[in-house]
Symmetry: D2
Subunit: 407 residues, 4 copies
């Protein structure tokens, strides 16, 4: 795989113009908030539905972030962390950008677009951008199952970006720059990171049982009616369990030679536990909505193929030691530590720990102990609006830039 | 077992005088609320700590029930359900009872006492009452692990009351009327009822994984600080996982001949999966506190010994068909249906369904489906302050009355 | 006024067939729940939007009440309170009724219809029913400001029903049976009841400052997004403050001779503090949404015209003594006590006291004390889904039946 | 007044060693969090109860802040904002400090102590520190009513520090450095800032009605039991209304010559609306607890002495223009803007706006509009754990340093 990805240039990347699709939605707002402090990326264009097109962003959006919109700049921030723009400067403000329609023509200046589109719009729009040779990093679910589209959790499988060249080659006509990369569902992202760390240290996992307690922000806005969730638990999130069970296989599987190849071309495919691939992995998920603002909690029990299995202490050390390629490469949004391990018996907790020390870009694991039925159990907390959504898209794009996939 | 328990008299029981220990606490208040509408039991005496002794109950208690204390009568209610006393009658009111100390001397008129005592007080006090030949039905944890004390979930194993004769015989001096019976921890009670139904229908279960989302009322009052739980999940409840894992074995095991008998007397003991008893059962619990007032939700995955296992549809039917001895006998607090099975994909939910149609005396099961790792998974909801606490104690006492164990 | 209302028949009313408009909505569900236990009224027809028309009610509705829909009967319940139907009887169930369109033709058998319609539909539909000579008791806001439509809080101003004859006479062609009666906004209803009690005892109030903390159920379903209200307060409810300030004047004002009369007919009008009517009343409202399921709390400060004003103790006694005509007449839904006065310093509280001892048909007042700026301040709690909505409509209809206005 | 306070030195203050009393409590933790980033102050000593004395801070405290204790340094931070210490440096960490007893002997190195003590301990301890010539800036309520102790809201009346010289002179023996300064109750602090802004612009206010909706963090930890507040409103906070009503008078009053002087010395006293002082001000408060983590919301209605009163637009402009001495002087914790005025109809909201753009050091005002009963009404939001507590103490100390009152 490494041969397919150009090594990163030594020098720091130049400023890169980016667009945001679905800019007025929950995920779009989060993209904008993160990009406004980004050292490389500069917000060039915002796209939304017809209703918003032509308006100033501040008039089109119902802003729901805790940082006021008036303090949000366009990104490309040099030097140290600067969370607010200087109000006296002439620098641009996101608030004043004119919202565009979601068509490739209106984003020709963008080298990358991030998509926070809803699933009902994302399918056609993202495809159109790809066809126009604009790379799309999407948080939408539409192309996650596509056999040519990587489904990437940046702390786990960024190497799957190697599938992009095949995705471009098989497009008609073949593409030179356009592609689609997706990141995973928020509840998958959170728990698959410790799974990856454990597979790296102890070899394949055989089975995983995960019970989630998911925050309301995972459902967007207006999302969950308050009458449904205040003082309540809803033991069902439509389609969520299937997503976790399926996405985990694609993310933790490798890339293998495909049995079927049409037109005689040899093809790569994602290893969904076909013969010849990784040992089987079974996943069972139970998903619940709880009255928490941000932060998905997941109770995980798992069994390794290896007998005897590692001890809780070995698991603890492996999680602490987990270091990933995007950290080594120096992706600016990568957390210093991928997994924060808590020793306190009652931590992590979403209200106290969701942001952690890495602004939600890492995950937290606690209560690592033996499972009486499988081998090991623990709890994992992830920030569903950061690592579980926009932050992962942005890290994927950073990785692609450093690898030369985006120029 | 049946030979050891005298069959119920045909005629309805006479009025039975009962006492409540720990009457000012959360569980004590719940005992009083339930007993005030009971057809047989009449509240004769209330016991609490030294601080409350000698005061009128209304002055000693910080009443936290939704039914006003002024409307709470002494029980022994004839005929139909009457939730409030006639304010013009001369009948006694709980509010006016003088609180007593928790000593057997002050409860000599009581044929039964119910204990809602805290664990730090329950040990000595309950033992003193037993020694004074007063039967104790206790919600406290102190004697649950005692090898001579039954741990009874009334919809599951009331037949374990047969151990009482041995408990009385081994006491020095032997007792004629006194004994201690405990009910289970609230989180155990809820999920062990569907387990019992499934074992009855399909034979032994081999392993169970349960993840709980428990209501704040399970921690009593003042209990959980609001700063800890508002908009939060706490992935830890001290001692709770061990209780579930251990109590399940005692409740679902039978009673067997003991290997060891001192003084040459043949002894019975609870089957904790020793050789010769029931097939092994492994239980793994993960307990969480969630911001819900009443109602413990539990996500359960289980594997049967039987291969192939039953289908989700067979499980559904078995749960619906579950009918227990305390229902057949006519215990007045027994629910018409032990298990309510929901077909809606997003039910049961604690806020909507915790009381159900049986005032919290039954449990609700939903989302019955295949588990990719074990065999079957589902969610169960139980009312932790009813079936999970005082209601079970009262049903145990009703059963004991109908079986002639309490006269 | 009394001369215009026929005295009630001595005998109990016969069964009366009623319809519910907007039957699938939040208020509609509440109407159905209450009517299913009503001694006089029998649910004959349910109306909803085109989308639901023709379906069985159970298939058209997203049922959100804590009593299961399967246990909801058609009402006309004889004798004692019976909260669930006998499942073995042949009696009808609401679940099986076929939903109709909201046209008068489909409700010809109904002697009364209750309207839980949304404001965008209520205007035309309610008018059409009136024109078809079907009496409408509406919870919608559309006709509340109509100078010929009574705005009635049944514990305050049911005598305003005397305006119905003028409403019928001025219709073209004049109506013999049809009319529209509205009840007030939920936040107005709660606090205007103690105001009425105080005006009855101490004469006119000069000014009132009310700050509300309103439950989410007041906004219907889906209503308030959970992201907006969980762990939050929203200091704004669109149009609510104006409603309180205006409705209070209409409800507490009397009926006076109008200055203007067209076609020479002498006309009555509601006293909105014109010359010659009641002394002036100024109302200032500040409305907040809080994360409470049911129950509007309102902090009220007021000043009387009378100098010196009554003492807190006199106010307390006047509120306790408040007894109204609908109670004297024997309206079946009227509470035994209109106002529950709490002495405890920290009560009433919505979670504990919203239903009170009258199933939400009364209001609770607490913390009566001197105000340093006006005269007296206190807090009032009302059940916004009961007395604040459907219960008031039903009490208005009961009163109309007993007065012979509905036959 | 200005003649009594030495002008600030031109040069920046040197590092100043400070202690924190009550360091393990909620307010103490907040003091430590703020001081760890302070440019002048360096944490030298932490004091707590006997139970904690001698332990490392990390072992004595139940840390409840969202920033991990491991990242908390000792303060005296040069240059830009640096929220976490460099983990590789040799710099001290608060976690490793040994907790001391709360006696002056153990704080001899401290030039200032901040007190987050509970009221039951603060009285004696703070007095002992003053007698030992150590200046105390206290968040406790004990000395707020003392006629010689300033009660200071730093954005309102820092000039009251001029009373310190009299406080020192009247002590026996007279003090050269020791004194006690208090800050106000959290609910007083929030709303008195806009009141001060309006009095500055439009002259004296005649009457104020304030209804609060206060966050649970205002009650400390464990504080409010979750069973009392989840999904609920509690219309009572013991002593709170009296505090607001009384403190407002002391804060908004000036300092006047006292009528009574013993030993012939002329004395100054706080103007509590005695003859000769400011025009009368009447305050009426109604206090409620709501299920919000941080942020007190207060609905305020007020009447000016001036007739005609200012318009809502004039009020808006006056609040926006409010600039205070502690801002002009350059106190490092002072916000750039004292009052943030919102135009959106539904803002401010505690969950979104509590920290604002000034990390909780400013207040937010919204919904400025006419009041039908008094003149003007609006809503004010303040961060009860920042400006409402530790932040105000720290600003008071900064002001005292700049004025040369603390050396």
């Amino acid at each position: 795989m490494s041969s397919k990805i150009t090594p990163a240039a030594v020098s720091l990347p130049k400023k890169i113009k980016v667009g945001v699709l679905g800019a007025t939605g929950t995920v779009g707002q989060r993209f904008i908030t993160l990009l406004s402090e980004h050292p490389w990326f500069i917000i060039e264009a915002l796209g939304a539905s017809e209703r918003s097109k032509g308006k100033k962003y501040i008039e089109a959006v119902k802003w729901k972030q805790t940082i006021p919109l008036s303090g949000i700049g366009l990104g490309g921030v040099d030097g140290a962390i600067s969370s607010t723009i200087d109000l006296h400067s002439d620098e641009g403000r996101v608030a004043d950008l004119i919202v565009r329609g979601c068509t490739p023509e209106e984003f020709q200046n963008c080298q990358i677009v991030f998509s926070g589109l809803d699933a009902d719009a994302a399918g056609e729009i993202e495809s159109a951008f790809r066809s126009s040779d604009i790379p799309v990093f999407s948080n939408a679910k539409n192309y996650r199952r596509d056999p040519h589209v990587p489904l990437i959790v940046p702390l786990v499988n960024p190497s799957h970006l190697s599938m992009i060249s095949q995705q471009q080659r098989l497009h008609s006509p073949p593409l030179s720059k356009g592609f689609i990369v997706t990141n995973a569902n928020c509840s998958t992202t959170g728990y698959v990171i410790p799974l990856a760390a454990l597979e790296k240290a102890f070899g394949p996992i055989e089975s995983v049982l995960v019970t989630t307690m998911q925050a309301i922000s995972g459902a967007g806005y207006p999302g969950v009616p308050s009458l449904d969730i205040l003082g309540n638990v809803v033991p069902y999130i439509g389609g969520e369990e299937e997503k976790i069970e399926w996405e985990t296989l694609k993310i933790l599987g490798g890339i293998i030679d495909s049995d079927t190849n049409h037109e005689g071309t040899p093809l790569k495919t994602f290893d969904m536990h076909q013969a010849g691939g990784r040992p089987s992995l079974r996943v069972s998920a139970s998903c619940n909505r709880v009255p928490v603002i941000d932060g998905h909690m997941e109770c995980v029990s798992l069994r390794f193929h290896r007998r005897p299995p590692p001890s809780p202490q070995q698991v603890r050390e492996a999680l602490r030691a987990f270091h990933t390629e995007i950290q080594s490469l120096g992706c600016p949004s990568a957390p210093r530590k991928a997994i924060e391990v808590f020793e306190e018996p009652d931590r992590p907790q979403p209200r106290l720990d969701v942001k952690g020390t890495h602004n939600g870009a890492a995950v937290s694991v606690g209560r690592i102990r033996q499972c009486q039925v499988l081998d090991i159990k623990f709890v994992v907390l992830s920030d569903n609006v950061s690592i579980g959504a926009a932050t992962s898209s942005i890290m994927n794009a950073e990785y692609a830039v450093l690898k030369g996939i985006v120029s």
